[in-house]
Symmetry: C2
Subunit: 325 residues, 2 copies
């Protein structure tokens, strides 16, 4: 029987606030999911225990048994060493040198593969959406922060300290707005959800009119990317200007990537793009072509991922698939 052979893969997206697990078949179709809060304040051991439960729940949800799963691939929010399966440094989880692979394998008895979360999302987009076709690809993910994954010759590239792809801290505007990293003018300080919200809040303080204050109250608490989309559809000029600027900065970052790395495809994803693709993508593409050197951008595709929240779990499944080949 096919069901008793090891035909399935599990992908896990380990985030600062939630854990997502998905069960996939060999063709990367998602058969079922499970979700759990991370509770990082309880420490690595408790979090790894929750990851194990989330994986087991997802497998059970699909009426499968752990022995039918060939491998589990996890994207962790920080620098990770795929060879040892250790998370070197994950500020959102307050983790330093955590043996995620070893500890999780002890709990679930399935081979575990660990990578940086943006690398895993990039891998998911590459295999599921692009069918592994481009030789070189860069995935850029705009959410609370901004990160990227690099694929060269079909393989993830993570560099000397396993930290390649930290595009969020590429300086685009020397002396620009302060970034969480302590520097100024980083891409993340100009175009992440955090940066967009900060600009809107500062504008409101300065007396800018926006429908967001009607929708959410004057302090704009609990603002989400989806609220921005609603405001734009109601013709909010101020929000439109802020989003346009963020899209322009993103286009310049994409041009920097095209000039420097010259990949065949640049894919944009993450919560900001998922919510605002219609408003941002055309501006990003136009700006990127404006700023790319003549001839360097010929034939290069700049597109938005359709995977949304599934990019991480899909990429985790790809990681497990590649690892167990």
């Amino acid at each position: 029987m096919a069901e008793t052979s090891k035909d399935f893969l599990v992908g896990v997206d380990l985030g600062g606030t939630k854990i997502l697990a998905g069960v996939f078949d060999d063709k990367l179709n998602c058969l079922g999911r499970s979700k759990m809060s991370t509770k990082s304040q309880r420490g690595p051991e408790a979090v790894i225990d929750r990851v194990a439960r989330c994986v087991q729940d997802a497998i059970d949800e699909c009426d499968l048994l752990p022995k039918q799963v060939r491998g589990v691939g996890i994207g962790a929010p920080g620098a990770s060493d795929p060879e040892t399966g250790r998370v070197i440094f994950a500020p959102n989880l307050v983790w330093e040198d955590v043996p995620l692979k070893k500890d999780l394998e002890k709990l679930i008895q399935i081979p575990v593969f660990v990578e940086n979360d943006c690398n895993v999302q990039t891998l998911g987009v590459y295999e599921r959406e692009l069918k592994g076709k481009p030789r070189h690809m860069v995935g850029i993910f705009l959410g609370t922060g901004i990160g990227a994954g690099l694929i060269f010759d079909g393989e993830l590239f993570s560099g000397f300290n396993r930290s390649a792809g930290e595009i969020g801290h590429m300086v685009l505007e020397v002396g620009g707005p302060k970034c969480g990293c302590g520097n100024r003018g980083c891409f993340e300080a100009l175009a992440s959800r955090t940066a967009i919200f900060r600009r809107i809040q500062a504008g409101v303080k300065d007396g800018q009119k926006t429908v967001l204050t009607e929708m959410l109250g004057g302090d704009l608490e609990d603002m989400r990317s989806g609220d921005l989309r609603k405001a734009l559809r109601r013709g909010d000029k101020f929000v439109e200007k802020v989003i346009e600027e963020a899209a322009e900065y993103t286009g310049i970052a994409v041009a920097n990537i095209i000039n420097l790395i010259n990949p065949e495809v640049v894919v944009l994803g993450g919560g900001v793009i998922d919510a605002l693709e219609d408003e941002m993508l055309a501006i990003i593409v136009e700006t990127a072509h404006d700023y790319a050197m003549q001839g360097t951008d010929k034939g290069i595709a700049i597109i938005a991922s359709k995977l949304g929240d599934d990019a991480g779990i899909t990429g985790g499944a790809v990681l497990a698939k590649r690892g167990t080949k």
Copy 2:
């Protein structure tokens, strides 16, 4: 006899104003050189003829015969396709799609290998100075313009349109000074020799005092990088400030590379660094570490090449050596 076997390599640095050729043994020692003006206004055919003569002169200078040369490697100032040996686009030479390999092989009857000039210089530094040891390396060259070469897993990386490494047009300061490419705030518009000279000339117009006007006259004609070094050694505060700023921008560009690509070694070269290493390198290194994300720069070396003008011909010899292996 060893001399009659094909033991030698020729490297050629084809620039907008001059052609340099060097003969190398298999251990990359330079045995002799030859130099000629490019005369690009005479068109590709005439330039390729001059390259052939320059190669033949260098071989003759070393008391060798063309049949003792295994291969000729050329760095061309533009995007080049190493597979076809065509120069796709070289603005300084006003070349578009020139079959350099084919035409030169006809003239000299030696296998020819063509690459972008910054890639070739990077290859020279990688093999001759770093002994091919780092896995990933980036070479950044500051001269009239700014360019880079990328080595991943020991091999040159040139991307989809063969134009990877266009770091000169990485935007560092949105809305910053105008660049030759038409955009604003490119690295090249902030830290190339052209940018440094422009700042000094603008400062003098605005009444800034500098010993350069005593040295060169009020219009600062014929200013060279070496003049800046002389001015600095005479305690010129204005020139010091301009050079410091250029070094800071360069440090930020290096940090962007470390964050994004995370190579093991970043090597700086080109005329500006050759002339001003003592004044710039420490500032570049300090700024790069300041702007690199925590943990990403650990163990990464940021150094200056000692090859100077020989980087291009040395890299050409490496290209020929790799091509004829």
